[in-house]
């Protein structure tokens, strides 16, 4: 066995986490990013790769309910934690209020930023259920969108926040 192969074997780590509620157990290399593991090994193609350096937010996911850029997170860091992607928010038959509002209000165009945008908003609204529009802008400032000008995204986020508050009230 060559030195590099031995090194690879020694350094492999097994991690366990849940992905949208499903238990996952994967052998990974410690240097692998969460983005890479989710896309290449966990079939989570809904997590998008836009820059791989934390500038665009397309790869955002929730780790224990907190939004992170998965390109800047090592997969070993989610050992024992819950990872949520946009597919964990809702389904076409039972959409999350954010998803319903994005659909109705035409907030998605090319859609490439949307998975990251939606989980970021979900994390934000769960902490701040009655935000101002300016606070929503701040919350998604790390999620770049090149198509929409953000206007309909902000409209949809406000609509969803209202609906979520109404459900809770």
């Amino acid at each position: 066995m060559s030195a590099s192969r031995m090194e690879e074997r020694v350094s492999q780590r097994t991690i366990s986490f849940t992905l949208n509620g499903q238990p996952m157990r994967l052998e990974i290399n410690p240097h692998e990013t969460l983005l890479h593991v989710l896309r290449e090994r966990a079939a989570a193609a809904e997590v998008k790769s836009g820059c791989e350096r934390g500038d665009c937010g397309a790869c955002a996911v929730l780790v224990d309910g907190r939004g992170v850029n998965s390109c800047l997170t090592l997969a070993v860091q989610v050992d024992g934690k819950a990872v949520t992607t946009v597919r964990g928010l809702g389904t076409p038959d039972a959409p999350h209020p954010l998803q319903a509002a994005f659909l109705e209000q035409g907030a998605a165009q090319c859609g490439f930023c949307i998975p990251g945008m939606l989980v970021t908003l979900q994390a934000f609204l769960s902490e701040r259920p009655a935000p101002t529009r300016a606070e929503i802008r701040e919350a998604i400032a790390g999620n770049l969108c090149r198509c929409t000008g953000y206007h309909k995204i902000l409209d949809a986020a406000e609509t969803a926040a209202r609906q979520m508050r109404a459900v809770q009230a």
């Binding site: 350096r53 035409g106 090319c110 859609g111 490439f112 929409t148 000008g149 309909k152």
Partner: protein, 765 residues
């Protein structure tokens, strides 16, 4: 055949959720990178680290020896190492140009990042490691990085035929007489930067060798017709290459020229294995193509009564190291050079020049955005020079329906510019007092942008519309959907024609072998061209189905209509469901489908000596108004209000139209304030989204979007294109607002804090 009229519309003009939106919002859509195949290889491109050099030696032996490397290709391995862009109608000065690019650099590199070799390996990491093992020995050659310097005869030459690759001109009337008749002459030189499309999805494709030796590539492209380019490079029959465009994560012109598809085709052809090539964000930014920087000298003569007596302009465009579509972008700039204004005396000269910078080509607004910064800044300056209100000055000079632009381009349809300008301006509302240390200002710009391809290119689009046996409808059309809702709008048109819900229609798009070719998703042409093709095929099929129903029901076709998935008798009880109708068609041998081709009206080639003639089928007009806040201490500009108003002819999907207008304004805001690909001696210095700054949600204000419908336009039911026009007025409107705020005219984009601060300091008494 009687067309449907606007008063009957049930679907057209609504905010029906887009057909593609649900999957995108639920993370179901499979973009080009969300697709893999067993045994797939990972590709990387080895690129030049010099902007101008001779290749002395390219040694791939160490890289090839790395375990896991399956294939390395250099120029010598490429069957036909050249990509052509046919650029029709070159001026007599330059002669017919066949813009050519080498697929892989053979013995010379002309820009930083030019591809030299391709690597395919078992994993991305191995491919990346191998890239570092390719040894390249360069002999530096003198480079030229400024288009004006490149025009000097002694400048380093990029091609044997010289650095000037294109010259166009417009001549009308007598500008000397026009300037002599003017009370005031306003002259400025404007500069615009290289900018990046910065779609969030980088260039990406996956290719494989399919049955019968067909190289199939699923790629993020605006142009599936590039299957011919891949085949030509490989020396294969065109039928042996198939391109599939899935839903695309943004294009904006940056996925119009060939990107990854030729490299993938080469590696699939060489290895016989599936190959994936994804550009990093850095590669996406440093590789072709970018928007052309323009240097524009504008001179306007005006009389005190507000008449424009003469316009003289001179454009110099930096084409970068290869021509790509530069001659065409410059031609578009010529047609748009005077703006939406009439003027009897016009003289415009344009030159596109090769340099050792990153090649430039298509970008949303294709040659109409750069001149707009010039002519709309000029209109503001002229109005102020004669102490006239900028709106009133524009209104006096707007071109009208039935007239022609100074280059002879006819204006066939309604021009609602006065209304667009007034509505946008009024939408800003009452002024407030500026906060301490800030100055507020307002500005406006009115622009025009063509839609549809050049009339002598004989553009067409084909569509297939079919009634299925279960009564649903299928549409097949080779449209790439960039995210603008191109496919969904076609579904909405179909839903209107057959009066069925959009959910009863399935559309197949973007396959160069299996869907009828519909042309490129460029030139704001898909709603116009493919909307018209679907409209044509749909209405023809509708007429045939009504005839069939007529014979079955014994009711004249004229007394029948469609409703709820059936043909029904108007004011009567008889009906036949689409399902029964399909069965009836099959029994009687009547076709349940139509394949129809829509041809755009063709025209003669323009006069190259005078630039006179019709170049485009149609034009879209609109205005934007903005309010800005300028920080006196730092020069930072913040847009506080933005209103956009266009006549789109006819709305197909209201959310999609507004989405284009809002997204376009945001992109224009970036062009105005932050976006610039900085190159130093040809070396890109802004190769990521931390240094190349596109607007965030904090930078774009709430946008007031006002949509007008004149009902006049060349598209289906009078629709006009809006995709590209939407970004054009923003930058000059912002520059005019900055002038209004601080009394200084900024002539170079972007309006960075440093530039604004310096201009304020230099102007201070």
């Amino acid at each position: 055949m009687k067309d449907l009229t606007a008063s009957e519309f049930a679907m057209v003009g609504t905010r029906a959720p887009r057909r593609d939106a649900r999957d995108k919002i639920h993370g179901i859509t499979r973009y080009a990178d969300d697709f893999s195949l067993g045994g797939m290889l990972y590709a990387k491109v080895v690129r030049s680290t010099r902007a101008s050099a001779r290749l002395v030696r390219v040694d791939t032996s160490k890289a090839a020896a790395l375990p896991g490397v399956r294939c390395i290709m250099t120029a010598a391995d490429v069957p036909h190492n050249v990509l052509f862009t046919d650029v029709p109608g070159q001026t007599t000065v330059v002669g017919a140009l066949r813009a050519r690019t080498q697929v892989l650099a053979a013995d010379r590199v002309r820009y930083f990042g030019e591809p030299i070799a391709l690597i395919a390996a078992d994993t991305e990491e191995i491919a990346e490691q191998a890239r570092g093992l390719v040894e390249i020995e360069y002999e530096d050659l003198p480079g030229v990085f400024d288009p004006v310097e490149a025009m000097h005869p002694e400048a380093p030459q990029l091609e044997e035929t010289g650095n000037v690759i294109s010259r166009w001109r417009v001549r009308q009337g007598d500008v000397d007489a026009g300037f002599a008749a003017a009370d005031v002459i306003v002259e400025h030189t404007y500069q615009t930067p290289f900018i990046d499309h910065a779609f969030i999805e980088p260039e990406i494709g996956v290719g494989w060798l399919d049955e019968d030796g067909v190289i199939t590539i699923r790629v993020a492209t605006q142009v599936i017709e590039h299957f011919r380019d891949v085949a030509n490079v490989l020396g294969l029959p065109h039928s042996k290459v198939r391109l599939i465009a899935p839903f695309i994560g943004g294009g904006f012109g940056g996925k119009e020229d060939v990107t990854v598809e030729v490299y993938i085709g080469l590696l699939v052809w060489k290895t016989g294995r599936p190959v994936r090539l994804l550009y990093t964000r850095e590669e996406s930014i440093i590789t072709p193509t970018k928007r052309h920087p323009f240097r524009m000298r504008y001179k306007h003569g005006v009389r005190k009564d507000g008449t424009i007596t003469a316009i003289e302009a001179e454009f110099i465009s930096d084409a970068g190291a290869y021509a790509y579509l530069s001659p065409l972008v410059l031609l578009y700039a010529m047609v748009h050079s005077s703006g939406p204004y009439r003027c009897a005396n016009v003289k415009v000269d344009g030159t596109a020049v090769l340099t050792n910078n990153t090649p430039t080509s298509a970008f949303r607004g294709f040659g109409s955005a750069q001149p707009a910064f010039g002519y709309e800044s000029q209109m503001d300056a002229c109005a102020r020079a004669i102490s006239m209100d900028p709106l009133a000055f524009r209104e006096r000079n707007y071109v009208c329906k039935g007239e022609s632009l100074p280059c002879g381009q006819p204006v066939d349809h309604a021009v609602l510019l006065t209304e667009t300008a007034r509505r946008a301006w009024e939408a800003l509302g009452p002024s407030c007092a500026a906060p301490p240390g800030k100055r507020l200002g307002r500005g406006i710009a009115s622009t025009l942008t063509s839609f549809g391809r050049i009339v002598w290119l004989h553009d067409w689009s084909a569509a297939w519309v079919e009634l299925q046996m279960d009564g649903t409808i299928m549409v097949r059309i080779g449209v790439p959907d960039l995210g603008g809702g191109q496919a969904s709008s076609l579904v909405q048109i179909t839903a209107e024609i057959f009066r069925i819900p959009m959910s009863s229609i399935t559309i197949h798009i973007g396959d160069s072998s299996l869907t009828p070719l519909a042309g490129t998703t460029t030139a704001t042409r898909q709603l116009y061209m493919s909307g018209s093709a679907v409209h044509k095929a749909g209405m023809e099929l509708r007429a045939g189905l009504l005839e069939q129903a007529s014979s079955v029901l014994g009711v004249p076709a004229a007394a029948l209509t469609m409703d709820g998935g059936a043909v029904v008798q108007v004011d009567g009880a008889k009906r036949i469901s689409f399902q029964e109708l399909a069965a009836s068609c099959s029994r009687s041998g009547r076709e349940r489908y139509r394949h129809s081709v829509f041809h755009a009206p063709a025209g003669k080639v323009m006069d190259f000596e005078t630039g006179q003639g019709r170049v485009f089928p149609d034009l879209t007009f609109g205005s934007q108004a903005v309010e800005v806040e300028v920080d006196e201490a730092t020069g930072a500009v913040r847009v506080t209000k933005l209103a956009t108003c266009y006549d789109v002819g006819r709305v197909i999907n209201r959310n999609s139209v507004e989405g284009q207008m809002e997204g376009g304004a945001a992109m224009g805001l970036g062009y105005a304030l932050t976006e610039e690909d900085i190159l130093e001696q040809g070396v890109p210095r802004t190769p990521n989204l931390m240094t190349y700054l596109i607007p965030t949600a904090l930078d774009v204000p709430d946008i007031t979007t006002i949509v007008l419908e004149s009902g006049e336009g060349s598209g289906p039911w009078g629709a006009r294109g809006i995709g590209e026009p939407a970004m054009v007025p923003t930058a000059p409107a912002i520059a005019n607002a900055v002038y209004d705020a601080v009394g200084v005219r900024l002539t170079q984009l972007p309006l960075t804090p440093e530039r604004v601060w310096r201009a304020m300091r230099d102007a201070a008494p």
